[in-house]
Symmetry: C2
Subunit: 195 residues, 2 copies
Amino acid sequence: MARKTGSHADITGPLVRQAAIKLIARHGFAAVTMRQIAAEVGIQAGALYLYTPDKQTLLFDLMFEHLEDLNNAILTEPVLKTPVERLEAFCKFHIRYHLKRPASVFVANMELRNLEPDNFVLIEEKRHQYEACLASILEAGQMAKDFKIPDCKLATMAIIAMLTGVNTWYQEGGRLSQERVERIYWNMVRRAVGA
Amino acid sequence: MARKTGSHADITGPLVRQAAIKLIARHGFAAVTMRQIAAEVGIQAGALYLYTPDKQTLLFDLMFEHLEDLNNAILTEPVLKTPVERLEAFCKFHIRYHLKRPASVFVANMELRNLEPDNFVLIEEKRHQYEACLASILEAGQMAKDFKIPDCKLATMAIIAMLTGVNTWYQEGGRLSQERVERIYWNMVRRAVGA
DNA sequence: CTTTGAATTGAACAATTGTTCAGATAGGCA
DNA sequence: TGCCTATCTGAACAATTGTTCAATTCAAAG
């Protein structure tokens, strides 16, 4: 019988996912054992199966949730007027959001090949949905002659790769603040699209 | 006694590395078994240990060789006069070289976390050496006022991420030829650095 | 208190792992 | 021809894997 107040499972479930993300990001999906995940949470391996039917589904859920959160977050951002403003907002949002959850980003980007085919399709769908947000900004700006982009599809991929790349080198407390990084990257993107 | 003509081992060794790259790129290092690699070559698992002391060393050798080849290739490219020309050559070289060996690139970029600490250091060294090639071009262009880059270090990382990103979506025989992709990306990079 | 049901343990399972090695094979040199 | 050495097989190893499940714990409701 479902209780209204949070049951123990409502607490342990997220803890399992959090532990799994952390370990999979560090060692990779195939290299992480169910026993390691359980130990990180402080339970026995068998108890994990109260929260996921199997290891593969656990991976899928982690990636799906990450991309769903990402798409929800970008859709609830305020929609600005001009394509240039919207592109600036997208770039800064992307860097900010991804730097806040590096482990999830790592898993979602690196573990695609460990998904079973059906799961892979569902994840790719979510990924394309996010890319379409950027693509529509670029196309609108191109139409309005605010941008001079040789190919909108390629520009979409190029910008996302460039922005996500920040996660590979950025360290909090390093030479540059996050805000400064956002501004510098936006500067490069703006020029790349000819705005 | 080492023979001058190629022994059988001189042939099988490269076959083992080739099979390993292919399988590791597809399934990930931890998910690939020595038996799978052996089967791909057409030998038994035990025979692999004539060509590598262990699985970890095999991974390291694959990544090290890839980065060494990359560094050798970039260093033997003709050195052009102006920073703009050199940057154009670098961008087109990077795309061309990486598209020609996608499996090696995939392994070298995705399996860093499966390297033992000592091996990791050696690989990172090679990677930085390559990045330094691009960084020196950007700094020269900045000095000569050919470029207007807010931060050379960030521009280096941004450009490499952007260019390597081509490997994630490009398919031979697709909408765009490789030469066209090279030109479009160079166009975006050129504007991003203000040239 | 007792009852109830969810939460968890701990042992067990068949399968698979990287690695070793004694023995078989085979191809070129004497 | 016969020998030698590089190459390889096939079985074996201890350890570890994802997963299952009967038995146990525990917290809250009656």
